[in-house]
Symmetry: C2
């Protein structure tokens, strides 16, 4: 089977063995924003035409390729949803010589009834589970970071935090960026930002401190991006751990069946993704009293393989 994680700005294709092992992988030429109207069949052929010529007949796609701006819209599936529900809701798209299916995104509502959506992260989440019936709290850092509660192997709910995109907008388009050099790293300045996020005054007040600390020589230009990142990720992690623990239950987060007092639990967070954000989130989670464990870097491929096994292809 061929699996493609096809997002807004990038695409990653995998050739999978029947047991789900990754036989080959490659980066596509770009995300859905680079595909012209009606150009998806050609873009797929360009990306994996040689694998198709070599005998592959099944293609499973996930991500923004199933959005209104993609190949065809695959309507959101409501949580809770697991492998079987995802496999049962795939959407076929016409393509000569192979069966092509789109994995739907998921929708949910947060505790207050505000809608939530994801496209693509759901395959990473189901691919990151250690057991098919697992309970877990999974974090996927990114422009729109997701915190996903998994109960009994199914995605029970999730929240999105615009942390990455807010960081970029604040760094590049406010006065804060004028005094910044370099990029965010998980060192002392990042930890100082995380610590600051626990103090009073709120995020909008904390942001201004990035400027005043610089003005008074207490934050070097090369540390300012790290401090700002720590502020934002610190606020996110604190809110997510509070919400995640409250929603999923302390005992669940302890990772076992034992009944534990919630106050004594050190929340376990599985981090899924790659790149420099992983170190930043791992540090922030630890500083907030949680424990971050790395997930499978090939979670998307594994999730797509598991969904593919459950699809009625014929």
């Amino acid at each position: 089977m061929i699996a493609v994680d096809w997002g807004t700005s990038s695409a990653r294709a995998y050739r999978l063995a029947p047991d789900g092992a990754v036989l080959a992988r490659r980066e596509g030429a770009g995300g859905i924003l680079r595909v012209p109207e009606g150009g998806f069949p050609a873009a797929l052929t360009e990306m994996v035409g040689d694998w198709l010529a070599d005998g592959e007949t099944r293609v499973l796609l996930a991500g923004m390729v199933g959005s209104r701006q993609g190949w065809q819209e695959a309507p959101y599936l409501a949580c809770p949803a697991g492998l079987d529900a995802l496999a049962g809701a795939v959407v076929p798209v016409p393509f000569p010589g192979a069966a092509v299916r789109l994995v739907p995104g998921l929708s949910a509502e947060d505790a207050a009834g505000t809608p939530e959506v994801m496209r693509g992260e759901e395959v990473q989440v189901v691919g990151a589970l250690a057991r098919p019936d697992e309970d877990a709290l999974i974090c996927l850092p990114g422009s729109h970071a997701k915190w996903v509660r998994v109960a009994g192997g199914r995605i029970a709910g999730f929240t999105t935090h615009m942390t990455g995109e807010a960081f970029a907008a604040l760094k590049d388009h406010t006065i804060l960026g004028r005094m910044m050099t370099g990029t965010a790293e998980a060192g002392p300045a990042f930890a100082a930002g995380v610590a600051r996020s626990a103090e009073g005054g709120g995020l909008l007040h904390h942001l201004f401190g990035t400027r005043t600390l610089g003005l008074f020589g207490r934050l070097a230009p090369e540390d300012a991006a790290s401090y700002l990142s720590g502020l934002l990720i610190g606020h996110e992690v604190a809110a997510a751990l509070t919400g995640g623990a409250a929603l999923a239950g302390g005992a669940v987060l302890a990772g076992g069946g034992a009944r534990v007092e919630p106050a004594l639990v050190r929340p376990l967070v599985r981090l899924v993704g790659s790149g420099p954000l992983m170190a930043l989130y791992g540090r922030a989670i630890a500083l907030k009293g949680g424990e971050a464990v790395p997930g499978d870097p090939d979670a998307a491929a594994r999730g797509l393989a598991l969904i593919g096994e459950r699809i009625q292809w014929a």
Copy 2:
């Protein structure tokens, strides 16, 4: 006396009678960013040369004109500071034919020791007081909104919130702006954003709801800017009222000498400024359980007059 509130992007000049009454007022050609190196004497002459020719010999300047990027740096004065301290710390700058003084900005530290600064708002605050020994909580909306605690007529401390600049960056440089038309208004969508700010999940999560509510048809494009503004100002006001009440004391905020249970107090906030933000902040403060009262629209001129009275000009 001539008084000039000379900020980064604008300048406002007043000709004042000996009793502080505003005899004339005008907008200057622009803020300090438009003045070339060494060009401040010429810029002042351009702005108020006719008043000087008409016999004025004293000029008092406030705002970013006293910053490193301005005419000359007037070092920050530490809080607490009132009229006498400000008058005693003005900085003379050479100018042919008139005595020109710069009002210093103020610095403070928040409860956690993070520095705070203002330049220009201090004259508005002292000018907005109803009595020379007043206790008050004063809010100055803007790109960098200030919440100022006044105790016994002196500025005791303040916090800055980057709400206005964050709003602009998020609206113009993230995915949220793509679905927005129109500007922020103090209607139902703004109130919904303020209400949302009181729910769990944190600001970075709430931001994403602006997008998902639009995606599900629950927030019209023409309402999205108002909702986003309500989210941000709601977060700011909640943090500021909590901090302001905690720091200044409930009884003080009740505006009288009576001892009142803090929980029963409706915080009184004097709003100083002008433009559309006044209505937004007034609404948000009311929705958060406070009471907003408008301050003197000529607070800057009044504050400069009061400081001018106390300066040793000779």
